[in-house]
Amino acid sequence: MTPFLEVAFYVAGVIAVLSTALAISRLVAVHALLYLIVSLLAVAVAFYTMGAPLVAALEVIIYAGAIVVLFIFVVMMLNLGAEARKTEREWLTAKTWIGPVILSAILLAEVIYLIIRAGPHGAIGDVVTPKEVGLALYGPYLIGVELASMLLLGALVGACHLGRPAPRKAERSI
């Protein structure tokens, strides 16, 4: 791994962390989503430096390009206005975030301790080409692919059903 890629990894990592931290603390939904996109892009760069170009691309295309776009569609549909921003401010008091932050910090500390304690591992290194991934995917992991497709089918059907317009009658089911 060239030093350039190493530096790129650290920079991308820092950006990802920062933008994620910002994303979870915005008051307007769209701002949060934008910061999320930045985070995802940074992570994609990190993937590239780790020698995983396929997932780097997929991160951008699917995660940032499809999932977050879906979020934006819904946000636009919901049409949250200025009073939403005020509500968010009320809901995000110091009393509210201090507990979760402490909880997550403890968890993070434990996880880092676990990782470090396990001793020196190896180094992230060589590139794993998309060809290798493809061969593995349609080789040993074939069943996973099929299951994933069924999962997506289920999600499709579910989302279709749930997203139907409201029926005229009073009786509703969620």
Binding site: Y10, I24, V74, M77, A123, I124, L137, A148, A155, G158
Partner: protein
């Protein structure tokens, strides 16, 4: 040759996961909760890819692909649910739907 130790990749994943968890617990708006879930999934994926890269095997990336597929389906269904909830309760407050208490 030396490179970025795998530990740092795992730690990056861990930090992203923790941030997502914090966001999940902090925010009351359901949309933000979903966003935080996505962040957590992403973090997990980073850890997988880092590990796979250390051993030079495609398994890490394949795992990330599956995570991606799952995230996509979960987001679509989740957003549909949020829309229904909004239609019923006229709000995106996660605490509004708390009738199953005891």
């Amino acid at each position: 040759m030396t490179g970025v130790p795998m530990a740092y990749g795992l730690i990056l994943g861990g930090i992203l996961f923790a941030l997502g968890l914090a966001g999940l617990l902090m925010r009351r708006n359901l949309l933000f909760i979903l966003v935080s879930i996505e962040i957590m999934l992403n973090g997990a994926g980073v850890a997988f890819v880092a590990a796979g890269s250390r051993w030079g095997q495609p398994d890490g990336q394949i795992m990330f692909l599956f995570i991606l597929a799952m995230a996509a389906s979960e987001v679509s269904v989740g957003l549909a649910l949020i829309l229904r909830l909004n239609r019923q309760h006229k709000t995106l407050d996660a605490d509004a739907a708390s009738e199953m208490r005891g």
